[in-house]
Amino acid sequence: SAVISQKPSRDICQRGTSLTIQCQVDSQVTMMFWYRQQPGQSLTLIATANQGSEATYESGFVIDKFPISRPNLTFSTLTVSNMSPEDSSIYLCSAGTGRTGELFFGEGSRLTVL
């Protein structure tokens, strides 16, 4: 299994600012993903973080709003840009090697935008 650490665990931000969430995996992984989870709801995939190339975004999510970096096989960042209260959510990093199919998750970053 992979251990995934996310920082920050939670943050309160002002409208119009940007926040970068970091995701660190304790081993090399082939796949990394970013999900969003609204309170009491399921997880929605934002994008696939591709190592060394641009992320692949799902419908409804754009790079200008959610720029993602993945400089190597163990680290990725998600930035939530120009935040509004609608961006208040939990953001989760997920990763896996593909050998056994499962994906592992970080503890999530709870973002509140005032």
């Binding site: 399921s42 997880l43 995939l45 499962e102 994906l103 999530g108």
Partner: protein
């Protein structure tokens, strides 16, 4: 596109009893993975059990077992001897095989079932 449906938003069970959570999915693929994840209030997503579609035998992990009905596209989770620590949101998830571009390697989640365990 693949979809996952959990028709039970909430379930409750008495401690030490057995409960079954339902999940159905829709896919045109023949090979894939299915998972049950648990999310307690701490919000950490924890993998409970996994099933490969090509395996006919139902997966089992201690008190957790699944009833995988491939033809019916059904994947239910049975929790035996329920414990207070089992209380959490449970998500059923689908994942296509990595080599299939149509589904990619992402997880598709159901809406979740909130499980309450009564002492």
């Amino acid at each position: 596109a693949q979809t996952v449906t959990q028709s039970q938003p909430e379930m409750s069970v008495q401690e030490a009893e057995t409960v079954t959570l339902s999940c159905t999915y829709d896919t045109s693929e023949s090979d894939y993975y299915l998972f049950w994840y648990k999310q307690p209030p701490s919000r950490q997503m924890i993998l409970v059990i996994r099933q490969e579609a090509y395996k006919q035998q139902n997966a089992t992990e201690n008190r957790f077992s699944v009833n995988f009905q491939k033809a019916a596209k059904s994947f239910s989770l049975k929790i035996s001897d329920s414990q207070l620590g089992d209380a959490a949101m449970y998500f059923c998830a689908y994942r296509g095989l990595l080599l299939r571009k149509s589904s990619g390697s992402r997880l598709t989640f159901g809406e979740g079932t909130q499980l309450t365990v009564n002492p």
